[in-house]
Subunit: 115 residues, 6 copies
Amino acid sequence: MSELVKEFNDYRSKMNDKILADNNKIIKRIFNLDTNAFAAGALDVKTKELLGLVASTVLRCDDCIKYHLEASYKAGVPKEQVVETLGIATLIGGTIVIPHLRRAYEYWDALETQS
Amino acid sequence: MSELVKEFNDYRSKMNDKILADNNKIIKRIFNLDTNAFAAGALDVKTKELLGLVASTVLRCDDCIKYHLEASYKAGVPKEQVVETLGIATLIGGTIVIPHLRRAYEYWDALETQS
Amino acid sequence: MSELVKEFNDYRSKMNDKILADNNKIIKRIFNLDTNAFAAGALDVKTKELLGLVASTVLRCDDCIKYHLEASYKAGVPKEQVVETLGIATLIGGTIVIPHLRRAYEYWDALETQS
Amino acid sequence: MSELVKEFNDYRSKMNDKILADNNKIIKRIFNLDTNAFAAGALDVKTKELLGLVASTVLRCDDCIKYHLEASYKAGVPKEQVVETLGIATLIGGTIVIPHLRRAYEYWDALETQS
Amino acid sequence: MSELVKEFNDYRSKMNDKILADNNKIIKRIFNLDTNAFAAGALDVKTKELLGLVASTVLRCDDCIKYHLEASYKAGVPKEQVVETLGIATLIGGTIVIPHLRRAYEYWDALETQS
Amino acid sequence: MSELVKEFNDYRSKMNDKILADNNKIIKRIFNLDTNAFAAGALDVKTKELLGLVASTVLRCDDCIKYHLEASYKAGVPKEQVVETLGIATLIGGTIVIPHLRRAYEYWDALETQS
């Protein structure tokens, strides 16, 4: 597995365990809701992941972008759709989004080359 | 037509005309890109409007929310999909999004009752 | 009751009813969590309301500011503590917070004069 | 004087008086710094007002935009420079800035027609 | 002392010295206000640090979070109160806050293990 | 050339090439607009770079700050003007801007020592 992908997932999973072990009700329920919200419903999983991706990108959260890129990749979203989503994010969010676009491209490459 | 919908569209269209009459190259091109970005491509129009909606909602821009709600409505997106999109926005963006959720529901109602 | 306070609460309560009637699981649970998070725990209610107030102020959400001002007022938080909280918010969030400070002062006045 | 301009300035000045009468040290000093920061220094007043305008616009603060538009107008900044500044703000901040652009154009018009 | 804590404080203190040596009046006064705002007043130091923490967290500023975690730790704020504050921040600011929550937990651990 | 400056520019340029090679129309045009918007017009290049700098700073985008610091440096903007711009950004954006101020000073130093 790509070093970039592995490092992100290892840290994420190690710290999530610590946070959840703490048993704060509010935080635990928000983590639960997160799993729920991206399950298939009136919208399918792929569309929901792209919604998560565009929201994460305009809010300029690198870790959230990585997370939704990876989930999109695993759900089989084609690169063209990911790129159109990032294009919409850059237009809505402005050039301030571009540094995150660079890291998004790098992470997507890492996802593709790791297989 | 609902007063809320009419007022929003009249002001928006009057001021857009003023802005574009000014012939600033940067601003005109951004307006053009906006039309382009939401046309069908690797993603269809309905999905793109929901991407615009979730981005507008987490960025807490009431006018942008209204615009994408109306475009979604005209494109035939069912309410269930709009609500799931708003749910994802509220989870990602937090309770700070709720006041915008209220106005989004009010505007969607106005769209539905105006027909 | 002050017109400003009444209008805010009437609209808020009318639209919350509409939103909750819609039965979207994510949104309903976030509304529930909101009630939970501000109940007494390791921190008392007054402190939690001030936490909600400072967060709402730096995020520049007028309706959220009104909500936490009113909850603080009802919980008996003295004005001096509210003002110190708003001062910290203005320092952390910058002068961009000042327009919200004006509306916060106006709403607090409305709360005090309505009794 | 234009109703839009008068209303903005009256409310702003009434509430500033209330806030300053409260004698919170942090808030009073931030108000003072604000006057200081926009006085001529290594940069002249016109340039500083445009810096204030672009910052207010990307942060999407309507009242701050109005304030810096008015100060720019009084300092004699030509409309072409104001529009180029708003163009840069729209590019950096994205289409999410456009609703504020509309209100900025409306306020500038009000400033010009009031003389 | 923990490497994470030492590195943060060393860089912070080295760069603050550089910034203050520059003698820009606005910046120096803002640094001064920062010290003032968190001193005991109508609210005690512990409460003020939690206000600083929740504001820093919803604004997603890692360095500011570290700073207020450390000040809270030194002021003797118990972990339960820190965690409740982070829970409120996550609810208000949304899941976009979670990556900062991970780093906050890591820093708090570093503070506890360094003693 | 300073390591800090070289590393930033190398990564930026490598990833920009990747992004542009992808031929997404929206993203390519936004990149083009970016070059256009900062060319001399009603405002000169130096003023426009300071507008870009203050906007990047209040939006807390380190890479954007670096980019505009470097463009300002190459355009011959004196340090006093850069610092006044950063002062205005810190006042408008609040103390949350300070961590970015530290990195801005570090990058400016790197630009000056590399010559």
